[in-house]
């Protein structure tokens, strides 16, 4: 669907702009990239505003979300109006229109695809076995299937297949290099460890499944009363009754609730993590047929096939001969909890695995770290080495066989035929002709050299990353004590990417700011209030409602409201309407704690406002502080407590917030029968529909709005209008038709809204402050010093964004500001070209951004982009890219979620630099998933961002430690780990290779087969992991003090191809030393193969261990234990292996250990092998010290002086 829309959009654009097909195609593929995120898919399609049915819009009334409505969880729809009955008609017509139309978004129920649920008749419902039961199974295995299924899944990994192939090769008789057990050991070891881990995880899932399945729920039974039933026995078609605070067992369509109007409040924490309450409605038609003990509803519900979109539901219900459409607001999903409602009764339409909650529980596709991608490239080189070595052995075999062709029968060490009398006499023994022998020689050398491909590295890396994640999670500095949130690692694969971030894309609200809205200023009827003065106690005591937050009250405004004289002055009325609008024009639900307040209760009753928009909550709280308390809200009316006097306002209709109008309006009938429309919205959308055009109030308000923006306040404009009877009627008929329309409902509603949202009287404006989070300026400063470019992508308007930019030190006075603020694409392009020319940005080829940045980075620029940037991103990509990458700071305003992802993708696809996106809301999900590293902030806006993120934390400032300290460490550690693993395995393989050259190319290994197998698994693995997890090149104090040390990650200092080749040369040298020194020492002696092999084993283990020890940056006790312990473990293993009389190497080690030659050979090997490396290390540190090296020295010196 998205695809089609994008294509249409692009065609349109290319027609307008005359862009070539090529760029359109390029951008289409970008669209595909976005499409792979399931949660976004539907939402973004709608976000494009292509005139599709949008449900009923979402009740968001904060302009920062202006573009994001379609991504919001759970729409709330008010559908209490009785339906017109000609929707049959509509339905058919719309269907036929769909057939001819080019898209099909599945919003309507097609008879062919529909599934029928017979209410309260589960038997009939399940006749066709279309539905699954309500039993859930998140576990993947049962006792029987565990072994085969687990093995099957495990062998999906390439590494294991490699292991398996090698082990299988080894089972062929001519290739049996190792014994059976020895060759299977590594594979079995890894398989067992993984299987035990998987088994344990699955057992836990089984346990929780069992718990879930055995919960009880009240189900309407045949006798017509509700009886408890286990969850796993519930079927589609069952009518269930849920009481307050109970969990919903399946996806159910509401039939009735304890509320007469059919409202139910639910908490969707388990689904999307949002803690606020959401409303769901039973259809008015069914509510009356349901009581708390019975359900008289019978009929059929035809609903769509199960799908994972939790924001949509399409079905219709046949009841009493009527066809009633059902949508998302009529369904309650499994996993939600019923709140503030005594009971609800509903019919199960999707059960068990088909519920949306279960369909959504799939894991996100894993990301791969950049280091790992490079590592795979080098693994390719290692495979080439492997191939070359095996070919060399094969070639050698060929030459040797040809030269000794005549002697193969007589050579004492190579007998190809049975020469003894007996049944086999004259037969050939394991000789398959020269070509085959060459092939077998190649294959058997693959077996011997198998660890050249460091398969164990993948397992080691996983272990190391788990360890690193443990330290990140346990870090006290990244623990948010205010809300008690720990750091979370949701992805284990990209820890090291944190050390190489070049771009940070940050959301503003909730990420840089606290997203705790506070009402600061108000402009009422052209007068500015809010230089918050202390409130006289007399005024304060009048308040009867205790709110969660205290709001400073402006005394002047308070007196204006309470002035007794002249109650009908224009200003007074405007102020009154202003607060009524604040109170009524929103979707906030008041939750009164405790029992209903009685008259004699003069204690303070606390009210908790639940709503999806923090702005609305702030406004309602503010109104309450001024004496207008929202007390009750149902679909039909609102009760406002005005200084103790309860006013009941009838809500005739509500036009919810949508991204096109950017405003919300509500039509209210006052007790005096006057009808008013109250509107609230973004200034841009409001100022154009005002009646009092450019009078004094208008000008004053405009000035105030600008002031507020400059102070960084979020502004909203409020207006109202009295409706005459004719206008009301006209609107009512339009509204009624629109709200029951099945097709183009959003457009029709918008049209209805436009009837009344015009010629409004300006009431005033509000300024809400969203304070910066603690430590944000410092963090941004620090990150900038570290060479990270911080981009802020916000939905806010330009002035607000700039003021926030200034206050968080993102923008400094010495910067040149480039503001791109265009209305058309052409204009925008011109501006970009001009800016480029002015600051001398040269066009750059793909991925060349870095070099160019160096020349002009100190210009320091700021770019403002305020247009419909979708077109900009499509058309002006290269322009924007050149300019933006040359800037230190980029702030993008009015950005929609999809555009956020687009900008991230622009940088990601055009440079090699790492990107990090950080955000807290649902509107950041696309960006978080697009970036190399996604960080979610667990803030006020639910857990959508966290769910999509790789790392989640409480506050923006933790980013500093996360990147500069943990990122740096992780990167350094893992980079070294990879290189060291390459070295460790290669040096061993090279050594085996040299020996094979001395054994007539016969793939003999002097080492016992067990030593070959255990080398990478036991002898040398433990210190690798320990050092990978715990080694610390610099203390965190130093890293935070010198943020520029982070540049080591940008320059890829810990791992790059040059280091790889240097390591390989070193490896070659070391392998030659470790091979040749024992050979030369024991030349002309009676040493046997097992003794020499034993010497080699120990020499190479000591060598690689000392090599590691030489590179350890900070020695702590556990490292000493691991490093030196591994040598002892090796000796232990050798002693055990040499104590088995059946093995040919029996007692070797004891013999060797007695001779001093053995020991001085080992010493010589270690020193000679490591001498060049050590000398080079010293030389490079003297002549070309790295930053890290200098910082280490600083650390050491100041430690000596006792400063630390």
């Amino acid at each position: 669907m998205l695809d089609v829309k994008l294509r249409r959009l692009f065609t349109l654009l290319s027609n307008v702009l005359g862009i070539g097909i090529e760029s359109v195609l390029v951008n289409l593929s970008k669209g595909h990239a976005v499409e792979s995120f399931p949660l976004l898919k539907e939402g973004q399609g709608q976000g494009q505003g292509q005139g599709q049915e949008q449900g009923q819009g979402t009740p968001m009334d904060s302009h920062r979300r202006s573009h994001s409505n379609s991504l919001l969880p759970f729409e709330i729809c008010e559908n209490s109006k009785p339906h017109h009955h000609h929707h049959h008609h509509h339905h058919h017509r719309s269907r036929s229109r769909f057939k001819s139309g080019q898209f099909d978004d599945g919003f309507y129920v097609h008879e062919a695809n529909a599934r029928s649920v017979y209410i309260n008749d589960p038997k009939r419902t399940n006749e066709n076995y279309e539905f699954t039961g309500n039993e859930i199974r998140t576990s993947s295995y049962t006792l029987l299937t565990f072994l085969p299924k687990n093995l099957f899944i495990q062998f999906h990994r390439v590494a294991y297949l490699y292991f398996l192939a090698i082990a299988a090769l080894n089972q062929l008789p001519p290739l049996a290099v190792f014994g059976r057990t020895a060759s299977l050991f590594p594979l079995l070891f890894v398989l067992c460890v993984t299987a035990i881990k998987d088994g344990y995880e699955d057992w836990r899932k089984h346990r929780s499944d069992r718990f879930e399945n055995n919960r009880d729920c009240l189900v309407l039974q045949e006798h017509g009363n509700f009886r408890p039933k286990k969850w796993n026995r519930i079927q589609a078609g069952d009518v269930v009754k849920i009481s307050a605070d109970e969990m919903i067992p399946a996806d159910i369509v509401l039939l009735g609730t304890s509320d007469q109007s059919g409202i139910a409040y639910i908490q969707t924490m388990n689904l999307d993590g949002e803690s606020n309450l959401k409303t769901r409605f039973a259809r008015q038609e069914t509510v009356t047929a349901v009581t708390s003990e019975s359900c008289g509803v019978t009929g059929v519900i035809r609903c769509e096939k199960p799908n994972r979109n939790i924001y949509e539901f399409a079905a219709n219900m046949e009841f009493n001969g009527n066809k009633i459409p059902l949508n998302q607001s009529n369904i309650v999903l499994r996993g939600c909890v019923l709140k503030n409602t005594d009971w609800l009764i509903g019919v199960v339409v999707c059960a068990g695995q088909e519920t949306k909650a279960m369909l959504n529980s799939a894991a996100a596709p894993p990301k791969r770290s950049k280091l790992e991608i490079y590592m795979n490239r080098e693994t390719g080189w290692l495979s080439i080495f492997l191939f070359v070595m095996c070919s060399a052995v094969a070639l050698g075999t060929a030459v040797w066989l040809v030269r000794h062709k005549q002697q193969l029968e007589t050579l004492p060490y190579y007998r190809k035929t049975y020469l003894n009398l007996g049944p086999h006499f004259g037969q050939v023994y394991r000789y398959y002709g020269i070509p085959m022998e060459i092939l077998f020689s190649f294959l058997s050398s693959v077996i011997v050299f198998q660890i050249m491909i460091p398969i164990s590295l993948y397992i080691t890396m996983e272990l190391v990353r788990v360890g690193q994640s443990y330290f990140m999670v346990e870090d006290m500095d990244m623990h948010d004590s205010s809300c008690g949130l720990r750091f979370q690692c949701r992805s284990f694969n990209i820890n090291e990417d944190l050390g190489q971030i070049r771009y940070i894309f940050s959301d503003k609200t909730g990420t840089l700011t606290e997203n705790k809205m506070e009402f600061r200023k108000a402009s009422v009827f052209g007068k500015n209030y809010g230089s918050s003065m202390p409130v006289p106690p007399a005024v304060k005591s009048k308040r009867r409602w205790k709110l969660k937050s205290e709001i400073p009250i402006d005394y002047d405004l308070m007196t204006l409201l309470q002035k007794e004289e002249d109650p009908s002055s224009e200003e007074r009325v405007a102020a009154h309407d202003f607060f009524i609008t604040l109170t009524a024009c929103n979707t906030v639900i008041p939750v009164v704690n405790g029992s209903k307040p009685s008259k004699e209760d003069d204690g303070v009753v606390s009210i908790d406002y639940q709503g999806e928009s923090p702005d609305e909550q702030a406004l309602v709280s503010a109104a309450s502080a001024y004496g207008y308390t929202l007390f009750e809200r149902t679909s039909g009316h609102v009760v406002v407590d005005k200084n103790g006097e309860k006013i009941r306002l009838e809500v005739l209709g509500m036009h919810e917030f949508d991204s096109v109008r950017k405003r919300m309006s509500v039509v209210i009938r006052f007790p005096d029968n006057a009808v008013k429309v109250l509107v609230k919205g973004a200034d841009t959308s409001m100022l154009s529909i005002l009646a009092n055009d450019k009078d004094s109030v208008w000008h004053a308000t405009q000035t105030h709005l600008n002031e507020y923006s400059l102070e960084g306040l979020r502004t909203l404009v409020l207006a109202s209008r009295d409706l005459s009877e004719e206008e009301l009627e006209a609107w009512q008929s339009a509204y009624a038709e629109a709200s029951t329309a099945l097709y183009d409902r959003a457009i029709k509603l918008r049209h209805a809204a436009s009837l009344i949202e015009c010629k409004l009287k300006l009431l005033g404006a509000t300024g809400i402050e969203d304070r910066l989070q603690e430590g944000v300026p410092d963090t941004i400063e620090c990150l900038r010093q570290a060479g990270i470019k911080v981009w802020v992508l916000t939905g806010d308007k330009q002035e607000t964004a700039i003021s926030i930019g200034v206050s968080c030190k993102l923008l400094t006075p010495d910067m040149h500001k480039i503001i791109i603020n265009a209305n058309s694409e052409a204009h925008c392009r011109d501006l970009l070209v001009q800016a480029k020319a002015r600051y001398g940005v040269r066009p750059s080829g793909k991925g060349q951004g870095n070099g160019k940045c160096k020349t002009i980075a100190d210009l320091g620029k700021e770019e403002e982009e305020d247009t419909a940037p979708m077109a900009l991103i499509i058309d002006g990509t290269s322009l924007l890219f050149d300019l933006a990458t040359a800037c230190r700071v980029v702030i993008c305003c009015r950005v929609a979620p999809l555009q956020k992802a687009g900008i991230v993708n622009l940088i990601k696809s055009r440079t090699d630099d790492m990107t990090l996106a950080i955000g807290d809301g649902a509107n950041d999900v696309s960006m978080i998933q697009m970036a190399d590293v996604g960080v979610g902030i667990c803030g006020q806006e639910g857990r959508q961002a966290v769910m999509a993120s790789d790392f989640a934390m409480g506050q923006f400032r933790f980013l500093r430690k996360l990147l500069l300290v943990h990122g740096h460490w992780n990167y350094q550690r893992l980079g070294y780990l990879v290189l060291y693993n390459f070295y460790r395995n290669a040096v061993f393989v090279f050594m085996l290779f040299w020996y094979i050259l001395c054994s007539a190319f016969s793939t003999t290994s002097a080492l016992t087969e067990w030593s070959c197998v255990l080398y990478s698994v036991i002898y040398t693995s433990i210190p690798t992991v320990i050092v990978g997890v715990m080694d610390k090149d610099l203390s965190q104090k130093t890293l935070l003090q010198y943020p520029k040390l982070y540049g080591a990650g940008h320059r890829q200092e810990a791992y790059n191809i040059r280091l790889f080749w240097l390591t390989m040369i070193d490896t070659l040298w070391q392998s030659l030393v470790v091979f040749l020194i024992p050979v030369l020492t024991y030349q002309n002696s009676s040493i046997d193969i097992w003794s020499l092999g034993s010497l080699w084993t120990i020499a190479i283990v000591i060598l690689v261990t000392v090599h590691l020890a030489m590179d350890v940056n900070g020695w702590i006790l556990i490292m000493h234990v691991a490093v030196w312990g591994s040598i002892f473990i090796t000796y232990g293993c050798l002693i055990v292996l040499d104590s088995i009389p059946l093995l040919p190497n029996y007692w070797t080690i004891y013999h060797l250990a007695c001779s001093p030659t053995y020991w001085i050979t080992i010493l010589l090997v270690t020193v000679v092998a490591l001498l060049p490396r050590f000398a080079c290390k010293v030389a490079s540190q003297i002549l070309w010290p790295s930053d890290i090296q200098i910082a280490r020295e600083v650390e050491a010196i100041s430690k000596e002086h006792g400063d630390w």
Binding site: F211, M358, Y418, M476, R486, R490, G787, D1088, I1190
Partner: protein, 344 residues
């Protein structure tokens, strides 16, 4: 590991959420603040490391070299000498049943203290060939009851359907040249006891395992074994069965337990039976004394002296570098962003 947990409904998710809210406990370990020793390559440390190596290596090198020089070694290659001049087909000669006795004289150039070890050295003999190394049956050698465990010995496993003890190519190719020594017509006793590893004798070769069907086939690889002597006491076999690591190797033949004086002529009567001609292998007879280091090998001494010297030289070189191009440790002016400001 399993990436991001499933967002499934139910208890697992809520427990995870609860776990996440627990405040981490402070410990130096979890905060990665354990006191660590951070070695730094200060000039002093570097120079003293090099000096330390040379101080250790030079004396060891000198000692090794002295030890090696002390060893007296006589090597005599006899494979070509012990073939009569008129023989053109050496292989045919060695396979024939002619008397292959041969007499050579060794000149003792230096006093040789007892015990004088007698080795034979073979060349171009790949005892480390994979087919060869594996061609033995350790089970069979150890236990009498497992004499039919010959599967690993193929194709030298059976003869006429009966198991060969000891089976396999290694045993089959047992070296069979013999040497006897005399000085001034006086025979020197060659002690052939204790030339093999005691552990091999006691645990790898059974005392009740006797040779059977050995060298019974049409092609004879080497020595015959006395079928009345258990394998445990067949020390030549035990020595031979410890296959050599490299294609040129020595094996202990026996010991002469008396001193050989300088200038003495040792007459060796040898039976040149072993066929190395088919693969152009050399045969040498070696008489050698030993020291704590083993046999004569200057390599270790020279290597140690070289490395010691090199390290001394490196220590000097780095001293000079530190003087010529001193760099204050921890000098921030060397930091990359201070060296070329503006660029990053």
């Amino acid at each position: 590991m399993s990436s991001s947990g499933a967002a499934g409904a139910g208890s697992t998710d809520s427990t995870a959420a609860r776990r996440n809210t627990k405040r981490p406990k402070y410990s130096k370990f979890t905060q990665q603040e354990l006191p660590a020793c951070k070695p730094i390559l200060t000039p002093r440390a570097v120079i003293s490391a090099f000096l330390l190596v040379s101080v250790v290596f030079v004396p060891v090198g000198v000692a090794s070299l002295l030890a090696s020089r002390k060893v007296v070694e006589i090597v005599y290659r006899y494979d070509s000498k012990c073939i009569p001049k008129n023989v053109t087909n050496k292989v045919a000669y060695i396979q024939s049943s002619a008397d292959k006795a041969c007499s050579i004289t060794l000149n003792v150039t230096k006093h040789m203290k007892s015990p004088v070890y007698i080795y034979y050295q073979l060349d171009n003999f790949y005892q480390n060939h994979r087919r060869y190394v594996k061609s033995r049956s350790d089970e069979q050698l150890r236990k009498r009851g497992e004499e039919n465990e010959t599967s690993t010995c193929k194709p030298e496993d059976m003869v006429n359907g009966r198991a060969i003890v000891p089976c396999g190519l290694i045993a089959w190719s047992l070296f069979n040249d013999t040497y006897s020594f005399s000085v001034n017509k006086r025979n020197l006793t060659v002690n052939k006891k204790g030339i093999s590893w005691k552990s091999d004798r006691n645990h790898k070769f059974g005392k009740d395992v006797f040779p059977k069907n050995f060298q019974n086939s049409s092609i004879i690889g080497g020595a015959h074994l006395n079928e009345s002597i258990p394998l445990r006491e067949q020390e030549d076999l035990i020595v031979w069965m410890r296959t050599a690591a490299l294609p040129t190797f020595r094996k202990l033949y026996g010991k002469i337990e008396e001193d050989l004086k300088e200038g003495e002529l040792v007459n060796v009567t040898l039976n040149n039976n072993y066929n190395t001609y088919s693969f152009n292998g050399k045969k040498k007879l070696v008489l050698s004394t030993t020291t704590w280091l083993g046999g004569k090998n200057d390599f270790l001494g020279i290597a140690y002296l070289t490395v010691g010297g090199l390290c001394f030289f490196l220590a000097l070189a780095f001293t000079i570098v530190y003087f010529v191009k001193p760099r204050q440790l921890g000098d921030p002016s060397y930091l990359s962003w201070n060296r070329n400001p503006g660029g990053h």
